[in-house]
Symmetry: D2
Subunit: 371 residues, 4 copies
């Protein structure tokens, strides 16, 4: 199929996620085979909007050599992913202060000036909103979903989640013998502000005794009772996995979910709260471990690299067939697409009547509330 495209750009936004480089590599390799020229915008959209902030070239020419051997590396060769929301871009004012401005028109103009026929935007909820905004300004844009938390709607999985879950599981595996040898309760806080996918999967994989999700407001008394029951059976340690956004019933921490990203980690999150709460209720030594920062980095798992490669190739395929304004998605057997406009603001939460939650209950794992 002929396509009018000859020059595209890739931008990555939002937090770090294992598999970003594998997406970039797949986009570049498959676009190059179609004869397209690829470019990477550095530091989110900063490379175009504030080129002076980048060290070196603000836009990188990406050919097969540039993406050679990067598929297994964590991070992204395009630098920081967390800056440069063009819709709220920090601009220095005449008086020296900094104010946020909507630079999306400027961004669209800069893309045209650079001769980019299309844009591949890799990111989460927020990046898809930006992508949709640029689409509205006439750019051919295709989105690639990225969220370690696995909470983007319309896709059954995104890259990064498997790696994060695997590492969280490896960490909890290590805590078992230590908790056991000290007769302790270990509270392990993992990522998941709005959805508890990582907590549920890592907790189930690593044999946690309680798993607390944002989807199920929990009763600390039930968790303490589950621990006491184990104790009475001579099992003197327990592992409690709690998602960052889980909340006790009654709402004393309802502010957590509303807090700025990372705020819970910084101020003492739900893990620290639960450590104190369970210590008081059970009389046992409790310790909390916060895995948050450890779960974003690292070499992507094979599973995540395959998803990333499929998404990258699919983004190019979508553009090649003249489609745009969509995000690529993963379904059971195939890759699909969904209009960008339908993605924003939708969170895919753990279904409470789903099989995995049911399995956790049937294995006797405390979920913090009666079924």
């Amino acid at each position: 199929m002929t396509s009018p495209i000859s020059r595209i750009a890739i931008a990555t936004g939002g937090g770090d996620a294992p598999g970003l480089n594998a997406v970039i590599r797949a986009v570049v390799l498959s676009a190059t085979r179609l004869g397209w020229e690829c470019h990477g915008i550095r530091d989110g959209f900063n490379g175009l909007l504030a080129p002076g902030q980048c060290d070196g070239d603000p836009v990188l020419r990406l050919d097969a050599s540039a993406v050679h051997g990067i598929g297994h590396l964590g991070g992204t060769i395009l630098g920081s992913t967390s800056r440069g929301n063009p819709m709220r871009f920090p601009v220095e004012q005449p008086d020296g202060s900094v104010a946020e401005q909507d630079l999306s028109d400027e961004l669209a103009a800069l893309c045209r000036a650079r001769g980019f026929d299309a844009l591949v935007v890799v990111g989460g909820d927020g990046s898809m909103a930006i992508a949709d905004c640029l689409r509205g300004k006439g750019l051919a844009v295709v989105g690639v979903p990225k969220t370690i938390d696995n909470d983007l709607d319309h896709t059954i999985q995104t890259f990064g989640f498997d790696t994060a879950t695997g590492f969280a599981t490896a960490c909890i595996d290590r805590l078992h013998t230590t908790a056991d040898s000290q007769h302790r309760v270990m509270v392990v806080e993992v990522m998941g502000r709005y959805a508890g996918w990582i907590a549920l999967h890592a907790g189930l994989a690593a044999g946690a005794h309680a798993i607390l999700l944002p989807e199920i407001p929990f009763d600390p008394g039930l968790v303490a009772a589950a621990i006491a029951r184990r104790d009475a059976q001579g099992r003197r340690h327990a592992i409690v996995v709690v998602a960052e956004g889980a909340q006790p019933q009654g709402g004393r921490r309802m502010l957590v979910a509303a807090a700025a990203p990372g705020r819970a980690e910084r101020l003492g999150g739900i893990g620290a709260w639960l450590e104190a709460e369970l210590a008081a209720r059970t009389g046992k030594e409790c310790r909390s471990v916060v895995l948050g920062h450890l779960l974003r980095g690292g070499s992507p798992s094979a599973c995540d690299r395959v998803i990333a490669a499929r998404f990258g190739a699919a983004a190019v395929r979508v553009l090649a067939r003249g489609e745009a304004g969509v995000m690529v998605t993963l379904a059971e057997h195939d890759i699909g697409t969904v209009p960008l406009a339908e993605v924003a603001g939708r969170t895919r939460r753990v279904p409470l009547d789903g099989d995995t939650v049911r399995t956790a209950r049937e294995l006797g794992i405390c979920l913090g509330a009666e079924a």
Copy 2:
């Protein structure tokens, strides 16, 4: 729901696979919560049919303590998985020779004599045939699919595959720099007699330059040409991933797939053949590595542990609701079942028009035949 079941047994058959212990643990924990008594039959069905061959108790009582902390361990606490096909059981004859006999009636009788109300059989194609045979003799049987090759029909994934693919990927990752520093072609033979899932996923994840599947008879000349093309571009190493059952066009190795399990590994399989063939055709130093045996063991990945737990809990759930004669399966969002009779002899091959194969082509990976 009340259920007439009060005593069940678990048997594991076929080769080793990461996640077997996680299945056993899930069956035992969820059955115990229903008040059932669980037993494990050791060494496939040997524990019942030839108890003298087992070291110690031929049938193990399995309670929560017995399965404590086993979820992350490779292997199976029920011992050897590869013996004791009751339909072709080796029995010593009066004259001292050994002949295979159908002991399935005896096995069914032994299960009844032990008071087993139901049987959970974890295994592949062959084990499901045995399970179906026992079902025909009036036993309540539920199957749990197990195949590292991921080639069982009716289920989108089985436990063990993700771990095997992950380790194969880790091995290929390691070979890149070594092949590069020596300017070599590395041929990596992985498991997959009838279906190339591991080769395709590990090859895609690890950046292989050619991937050869049982589903696509390959032209060695095309593979050599792909390597020569890389060479001409100054990339002087190449990684070729080949599934155990891949065959060159023209059929010179058609006998491989028909060989006894493991025969290719033993006699010098397709990897060694290809090493010689590519060396002759490209003039480059080629080396082959056979990963087969390394892919069956090891601690299961988080993903495989979750699948295993879901399958184990589902098997008990199926029995509890009075269903039997089925194998549990994994679909996109949920667990399902399929009659045992429909499982046997069906292989789930890699779909050549599927998205993953398409991605491999679009990334420029040589698949050994023109699209």
Copy 3:
């Protein structure tokens, strides 16, 4: 060589450490080959002193079968390692209160009553003091050094340290890309109350930009200046590795080292303090991660398993040649011994004029104080 020994017991004390099972296995296998009978005392010395607190047998018979396949497992098959100091044993008084009593005479008597000709005690500083006390009461005792922190004197390395350092390094590796993508300073707190071996080795291995050790009281201003220097060069993230027991100059945290074990972790340790301090001084986003609990568990590294096996075999060898009252040690080329009495209260700190510290300085890593 003939030896009068026919029956020995093994006890493990202190915190969890990867390699304990490998030591136990080596002791049992080599003692069994000499015809000795081996027993394991459970839960530190609780198995003898308070058998009612153990679930099941308080003393385990250990033969080759009992230690089969345990060498690569974390934890210890002898249960909790942290209870049962016989010199300060918690005993319930007639009035219901609990008071610590010296039960070392009782313990020695119990060992004799059980017919133990010798005792192998695996543990740290404190356990060696107990071992020395029992030696004083006429028991043949040999010690095996155990400290993840690597701070026991007289031995160049102990098992557990390499595994802990390896996992800390893996964690810091993961933090690099995440810190980079967010332009953050990551403060990583690792174990090491009195000696900074883990911080130094993991920091050096993982490319940390500052490493703070208990051996060098640090100036936070110098650390902040080092971060600012990186920033000025366009490197906008930094990794600071800090040992649990590191202290700022001027002593505001002098109480840390004196605190009860783990207290720093619980109350907010040096990592959290430094996060706040560096944020204030550099104006950059800082985050701290505490790895403490994650470093004690897990499957021991090959290196640690070899050390553990050598120590276990050496302990038996020492007893077989009629020596006792010593701890086995590792020197450059061989295993040695040192009298138990010389071990207690000696900490092996990082030598500030040693080659590894010098290397860190020469690589430009900030050590928190002028050389």
Copy 4:
């Protein structure tokens, strides 16, 4: 200390080894701090002797940016390590044939022409001989020892060995359950042509039942007898670790050690021979796995990165104090040096009266010959 050096070059020779990049990084960072300018010679010495063979610049300018984030990567940023022995350099003759010539004078001249005041040569036995030759021609040269096999004399350890041993151990760990479930004997061939360090350490760490080293010509009958003994005890699998250069008594494979590097792997090495031999002698199913190629790549372990960093910094330190013509070495507590002339042709073999071999015997591991 002032030093007349202002410009140095680094070359890496011999096979791939995990830690090469960490050495390069340490050399560059510490030399840069002294104000020196660093260069890397690509593809062994090809970058100078045959610049046309390199893709791009034959000599790379190496500053802090160039070595940023490479410490944990396998391979070497200087490209192929296996080409370019200047003493036997392949040169095309007028008649089109290729003949080896001694280009060491030319190489020394090229180094001078480039203004290199000193050379850091990272490599094994052969590279040290080249280094010594260049020293003889008046260049300031310092060597850094590199051998995965750990068989270089004068140094107690080199980088790469720990990573290789760790991965071999991980592979053997995986083979245990698979061998067990199939009642098989697994023969695992590892690197080690002249010295059995990897076989001994990985075998000991992973619980092998027999370990065969180049240092101990073995009797296959003893190995078979050890397997039969296990079988009689109901342990129906066995793991035999054999170094590439191990030989049966009587010498039927004496040619192996003399063969060209890698020849054993290619032709069917000692592993395949032993598989057949043990199958015939024990009547059990035997399988061999060759790990050779898998052991050279991969991210270096923390231990290897620390050694590599120390060696790299030491090489610069040695040059800075005006010393040259030496190789840096690792002793128990410190870094030392040894004249290059004393390194060549000396192999550090496993001492048969050393503690590690003794431990293996005491644990009941068959070493293939009576003690």
